[in-house]
Subunit: 389 residues, 2 copies
């Protein structure tokens, strides 16, 4: 099978390197930005060289970003090329359009690499869903934030200190906000909902909170409760309702989630009959993510025409499917307001020094807590909140 790569960054190079070892997969064209080094003769800066080349069977989009990734994917599908993407952002933003376009064109559209890198989680969801509907999923889906939390837990280090180390190791971007604020996980959660439920919610339907405000002392307090903080995407479907969120969660020490070290991922699915399955591994990096792309390529080379599924009817976002307890660390002023608003649903309050208060809520519907949280954030922009698992 003759393959063209759009983009030659970390993932593109990983795909290229793996294909060099597999006789059936030949990379014949690589699109790079104008002015990029042309160390290989197959490099071009002209997309038309690829989309108009009838010898290209399959196009791998590993550029990232929304535009022109969307337009290139649509053009390749329209030209009858099989397509694989590792770009969760474009798929989360245009799930319906892209998956419908692939079906209209009768081409395969692989996206395994969009979620959990080298961990074959989307494939597992598809297989499980053949036998019975997916009830829900959850996961540690971002290696950067897990690296930061993991080192804060193990070393008692502070957030900024570990973030710098992660940046030096190349685990975190110079602008880390997409990871730290949960936006990368939000895109992955949207794509995973699409694969699991045949419905990709909008970004507005997936409340998303990151770990940017967590402090070393928060981690110490959380550990003393027998818990470990992790950034989790969770989703649950009941009938036509869907609840999908991204937020810090206090998992129990001794759980598999708590044991996930450094920049690894752990993704879980739940389905009737099979119960809960969990999948662990490297969620990023050239070879793990490249491997996920290559798995899609091998399936396509064997005649697979899978596209991201769409059940048709839209699911309603219903955050009341999630009821939980939350832990907050906030200013005394914000804590006073929280106590007043929560009333009997305020389960415990404990001052921490002069400037902070730790507060636990009783079980609440998620929408009630998130609304309260945004009011409190106006009083204390540095508050940290996490759900009890």
């Amino acid at each position: 099978m003759k393959i063209a790569l759009l983009g030659f960054g970390v993932v593109g190079r990983g795909v290229y390197d793996i294909c060099q070892t597999l006789p059936g997969l030949e990379v014949v064209r690589i699109l790079r930005r104008k002015g990029s080094p042309r160390e290989l003769p197959i490099v071009t800066d002209c997309f038309e060289d690829i989309v108009n080349d009838p010898s290209v069977d399959c196009v791998v989009e590993a550029m990232g970003g929304l535009h022109p990734a969307r337009e290139y994917l649509l053009a390749c599908m329209a030209a009858g090329k099989q397509v694989v993407t590792s770009n969760k952002a474009v798929l989360a933003a245009f799930y319906d359009e892209l998956s419908d376009a692939a079906r209209s064109a009768g081409v395969a559209f692989g996206c395994e690499a969009c979620v959990a890198g080298g961990v074959p989680f989307l494939a597992a969801l598809r297989k499980a869903a053949r036998v019975s509907p997916i009830l829900g999923f959850s996961g540690i889906l971002n290696g950067t934030t897990n690296y930061i939390l993991s080192r804060m837990v193990d070393e008692g280090a502070d957030f900024g200190q570990v973030l710098s180390a992660a940046q030096q190791l190349g685990y975190a971007e110079a602008d880390p906000s997409a990871d730290v604020d949960g936006l990368d996980v939000q895109n992955k959660a949207i794509v995973t909902c699409g694969i699991a439920f045949g419905f990709a919610p909008s970004h507005g339907q997936v409340p998303t909170f990151g770990i940017g405000s967590i402090q070393g002392q928060d981690v110490a307090d959380i550990l003393s409760m027998g818990r470990v903080p992790k950034l989790l995407a969770t989703a649950r479907r009941e009938g036509d309702s869907l609840c999908c969120t991204v937020e810090p969660v206090l998992v129990e020490r001794g759980s598999l989630e708590a044991a996930v070290p450094l920049n690894n991922n752990l993704a879980s699915l739940e389905a009737q009959g099979i119960g809960t399955l969990k999948f662990y591994g490297q969620g990023a990096g050239a070879l793990p993510t490249g491997n996920a792309v290559v798995q899609d390529l091998l399936d396509i080379a064997q005649g697979c025409k899978d596209t991201p599924p769409r059940t048709g009817g839209a699911l309603q976002s219903d955050l009341s499917l999630l009821r939980a307890r939350w832990w907050l660390r906030l200013s005394p002023e914000a804590a006073q307001r929280a106590k007043e608003e929560l009333g009997a649903a305020c389960e415990s309050v404990r001052p921490r020094g002069e400037e902070s208060v730790c507060l636990e809520t009783a079980e609440l519907p998620a929408q009630d807590f998130y609304a309260l949280r945004s009011r409190l954030l106006a009083l204390d922009p540095k508050l940290f909140a996490a759900r009890f698992a």
Copy 2:
């Protein structure tokens, strides 16, 4: 696709129940022993009714045991029927013969359910191996022994006490030796080697030690070292050499393995590029194991003709690929002998009461330790030994 079941025990019933919910899979015949209740009109006690019925496309063997399972599988393959088995014992004993027979007959031969029940581990090994050779695997592959060890760890309970509870819950057989002595895991390890490396070792090539001699005080001592005891199958391949063992392993507290509760499984694979992937879930039970069989059936219904792979050349068993430290609890007499034989490789010795001694070895090649272990067993038949992970 029209399906016949051989056997209607836990797995057979699970497959039957799941197929009732899936329009494409129709169970048309069920073989039960003479004298079994015939609650369904499709039940027969005559194998010829199935192998000679041209309307049967696919046969699921869920009888267990070696004979007549082997003969029935071979007869079904020769009759051109696709075949799926959940019977690890027959596949471990006759791997080469059965997989060759399936290829000669040009039929599919699915065996996902033989290892780790509902956890799609064999499928993951096959997929990973498409991209790069499997370097090794390891796993908690027996729910019964993990249930026993898990409750001993959590409750400080003694072996016999927890075994009785497991028997009452149906997790352990009345004769628990296949589980407790590691023989069930040995069969699974052999099958997994077949799928991972294209070579299934003989039982004699897979040193196997169970957990029957572990005492409550052993568990307490192990926990005080920051370790947790688990029964693990591990395998590693280097070139034409293979080292596969089944034995108790002291994993680090805080590892994913240590976090596996009750009757669950966790299986890991390692391959170049992708690194380590781990897969967790229910390793037994009607619906999880039935689900694994049904996944094979759905693949076959889609035209998949996979058979257990065979690379051709035999791998040599080479236990020196495994070097590790071991922990022993044994009688003072046996400990004295161990000290003499180990010499400088005896790292620590600590009496435990009047009757026991705890001893740690330095790093040794596995074959040296296993040879020593069998000499010590003659002096203390109740000794317990476990490898440091």
